[in-house]
């Protein structure tokens, strides 16, 4: 559902209309604000812009894509993990032999990849790839 629709000032509208460029329907979604702006009509004499804010905070991340991205981080983490098969069930300590320092470094790499901050109490509970993927998907800031 859309919360607001904004119309650009008339002067700007005339400026856009004066160009000979053909305006086509386009959408721009910015990760942070989820501003979806779309040129919805162009008839050569006026252009109406509408800006829509989605009520969801972020585009939904696909779970399999997140798993792939997390797996890439893990397999690139060190040479011993290069050929590891990583699934949702893979556990950091038990299956990947990561100690606490490794886990801190891995979670920082994941924070950087998805541009999120993992709170202290959550970090303590992330023992497996699946738990990490689930957290990333649940985090509205992740992208």
């Amino acid at each position: 559902m859309f919360r607001s629709c904004l119309r650009i000032p008339a002067a700007a509208s005339r400026t856009l209309a004066s160009t000979s460029a053909t305006l086509t329907k386009s959408a721009l979604v910015t990760p942070r604000t989820n501003l979806l702006s779309s040129v919805i009509r162009s008839n050569g004499s006026s252009v109406n812009w509408c800006a829509f804010y989605t009520t969801n905070n972020s585009p939904t991340l696909d779970k399999s894509v997140v798993l792939t991205r997390v797996s890439n981080i893990i397999t690139n983490f060190n040479s011993q993990l290069k050929d590891k098969t990583v699934t949702n069930e893979t556990q950091f300590a038990k299956d990947l032999s990561l100690d606490s320092l490794d886990t801190v470094e891995l979670l920082v790499a994941i924070e950087e990849e998805f541009d999120i901050e993992i709170p202290d109490n959550v970090a303590d509970d992330l023992k497996s790839v699946g738990q990490t993927v689930d957290y990333i998907i649940s985090n509205p800031e992740a992208h």
Partner: protein, 172 residues
């Protein structure tokens, strides 16, 4: 002199840790500190790593350890792990704050001005910064008059930290 030396009346727990210093070197290579105008300047990514285990006071002392940065950071990591292990043997799991909260907020390691020996101070602002853990602090740090004894040794690539949680000698 006789009778003036007193030991600690209660030992609550012990903990230790060993860290391979090349791992810290690798971490610093990946998340480096820039040196500008003779002073260490921090890149955002090192701050991110440091924010997971360094107390702000330890972080602010980085500049003083330019010549032994790897040992300094390795010593902090090992100290945090050693004391966390000791706390885990003394505090029920349900009462223990998250590890990173303990590492970055509960205590910090500094060095004696007299002889350079490392020692640990519990941060009494922990309660106000983390009011949700006030009960933990009151019960296990304050009311027990807790002191963390620390000893660090390093030889080549390895650094060891040993800690003992005891009841401090002087009353609050």
């Amino acid at each position: 002199m006789r009778g003036s030396i007193q030991g600690f009346s209660t030992i609550y727990s012990i903990g230790n840790d060993v860290v391979k210093l090349p791992r810290i070197s690798k971490l610093l290579a990946q998340y480096p500190l820039d040196q500008k105008n003779g002073k260490l300047e921090n890149q955002i990514t090192f701050q991110r790593i440091a924010s997971k285990f360094m107390h702000p006071i330890e972080y602010s002392n980085i500049d003083k350890h330019q010549n032994n940065l790897v040992t300094y950071i390795g010593g902090i990591w090992a100290t945090k792990e050693a004391i966390f292990k000791a706390l885990s043997g003394f505090v029920p799991k349900k009462d223990l704050p998250p590890a990173q909260t303990i590492y970055t907020g509960l205590f910090y390691k500094i060095n004696s001005i007299e002889n350079g020996a490392p020692f640990v101070i519990f941060d009494d602002t922990f309660k106000s910064k983390y009011p949700q853990f006030q009960l933990f602090y009151n019960t296990y740090i304050q009311d027990t008059n807790l002191k963390a004894l620390l000893s660090i040794a390093h030889d080549g690539d390895y650094l060891f930290a040993n800690s003992m949680l005891v009841k401090d000698k002087k009353k609050i």
